[in-house]
């Protein structure tokens, strides 16, 4: 266990204030129930996401570094937790660039000076995902001991999306043997949900692309990609797809609806954030976990199994 994960800087990112609101709600509720303290980064900004990165990657590095600078220099944190795969990826990438690229360091120093804050230096912070936070801040044993409503009988396909593990070089802590996360077959979410009693199904598309990047430019391909993920999860026997990224989650939900409307293909599998599933297992009410905000009716799936 890592005691430094008990109190971390929290970077929700833009998505968790919009379509991923339920992920924000459930992450906070879960942290509270597990005795983990979240301190939201003051005056945080967008991580640069795709838009800024496509225009100027170094400005994206600066945007992410500003968030980290506030967390490290103003709030004196040593760990920042980002539940969104996009934010997590961009903060990790900024960390890597600042450690390895002089031009990135110069850009960040120059813009930080203009903006009037201290420039972030590589190594000041550890960036973690919500999965690391629960896995290494609490662990399966402690989680199992707190379970009030086991997820027994619920078959789950764990979907990690493509940004949680890629590119491998920005995640040096992964693939380091027992205890570390795998970039080839991620397992942290599987293990946490298994500790809560769920049955994980063998799901070969757990890191496959959901088409999120071209959901606007080529919606049909995105819909087909999502439909394939949903059908594969159903073929694997899953009742629910567990997610850990707001973009993947809303993509799966919205294209599930679109697949039915446009392609006439109906799928029954439901989407729930892993924080919602763990929260239910800890006895937190579904409303406090924002399950009613989900587009797909996850509550129905939980009721069918007698969990809620």
């Amino acid at each position: 266990m890592k005691p430094e994960y008990k109190r971390v800087a929290y970077y929700p990112g833009c998505a968790l204030e919009g379509t991923g609101h339920a992920y924000n709600t459930s992450t906070k509720a879960l942290g509270k129930a597990l005795g983990l303290k979240l301190e939201e980064v003051n005056d945080w900004n967008c991580c640069g996401a795709m838009e800024v990165k496509n225009v100027d990657p170094k400005v994206q590095t600066y945007l992410s570094s500003r968030v980290m600078s506030i967390a490290a220099n103003e709030m004196k944190h040593s760990v920042v937790m980002a539940p969104c795969n996009g934010c997590y990826h961009n903060l990790k990438k900024a960390e890597y660039d600042l450690a390895h690229d002089e031009a990135s360091r110069e850009t960040v120093a120059r813009i930080s000076e203009k903006a009037g804050h201290e420039a972030y230096q590589a190594g000041q912070l550890e960036t973690i995902h919500a999965l690391d936070w629960i896995k290494d801040g609490v662990g399966e044993e402690a989680l199992r001991a707190r379970v009030k409503k086991s997820l027994k009988g619920l078959k789950i396909a764990n979907y990690y999306g493509c940004m949680y593990t890629r590119p491998r070089h920005i995640f040096p802590e992964k693939d380091q043997g027992p205890g570390s996360e795998s970039t080839l077959k991620p397992r942290f979410m599987d293990e946490l949900l298994a500790a809560a009693g769920a049955e994980n199904v063998d799901f070969p598309l757990k890191t496959a692309c959901c088409g999120g990047a071209h959901t606007l430019s080529d919606s049909d391909t995105s819909t087909k990609l999502v439909l394939n993920i949903l059908e594969a999860a159903e073929a694997a026997g899953a009742d629910v797809i567990a997610t850990e990224c707001p973009t993947c989650h809303s993509g799966l939900e919205m294209h599930q609806v679109r697949a039915e409307k446009v392609l006439g293909k109906k799928t029954k599998v439901r989407m729930l954030y892993f924080t919602q599933l763990l929260g239910v297992a800890l006895g937190i009410s579904p409303r406090k976990l924002g399950i009613h905000e989900n587009v797909s009716d996850g509550l129905e799936a939980l009721k069918e199994k007698g969990i809620v």
């Binding site: 598309l205 496959a208 990609l225």
Partner: protein, 163 residues
């Protein structure tokens, strides 16, 4: 005309005469419940299309016993985001091995699920790669795409107004 001949007939050819299988054809074949050998071949054709669209010749080498994995490695050179289909390719290879083992042991019933999964994996690879080709202005998709059917690479370049 046999299915194989029909497929060959429908394959587009680029300026150097290399064959590119259209996505619609790949999807049609996938709908026909193909076996593991054909699925693996289709997956290779998908990656070949990507390699050809980038102006290269698809490798004939293998990696870990699979040409598919060597093709992926070739396709990902200089395009880190192409690694988003790396695990999909590895899962296809894994499912191929699973099916080979089941068939060797004569257990046909245990083939149904992995065969279905392998079909979905190949479909995912095809959708991802052809979607990526469109985003990058490669392939035959819209007015901004590189027209692979044109006679020569020089004409291709002149013909694409805003690729």
């Amino acid at each position: 005309m046999s299915e194989v001949e029909a497929r060959a007939e429908a394959q587009a050819r680029d300026g150097d005469g290399r064959r590119v299988t259209p996505l619609a054809l790949i999807e049609a074949v996938l709908d026909g419940n193909p076996g593991r050998e054909e699925l693996l071949q289709l997956a290779e054709e998908v990656l070949e299309a990507w390699v050809i669209a980038r102006g290269e010749t698809p490798t004939t080498e293998t990696s870990e016993g699979f040409r598919l994995l060597a093709l992926h490695r070739q396709g990902a050179k200089g395009v880190p985001s192409f690694n988003a289909c790396r695990e999909t390719c590895r899962e296809i290879a894994y499912h191929f091995n699973l099916l080979s083992l089941s068939e060797r042991e004569g257990s046909r019933e245990s083939c149904e699920r992995p065969e279905r999964m392998m079909t979905m994996l190949v479909r995912h690879l095809a959708l991802f790669v052809y979607g990526k080709m469109e985003v990058e202005g490669l392939g035959e998709f819209c007015c901004s795409s590189r027209p692979l059917r044109l006679e020569s690479p020089a004409e291709n370049r002149e013909g694409s107004s805003h690729a």
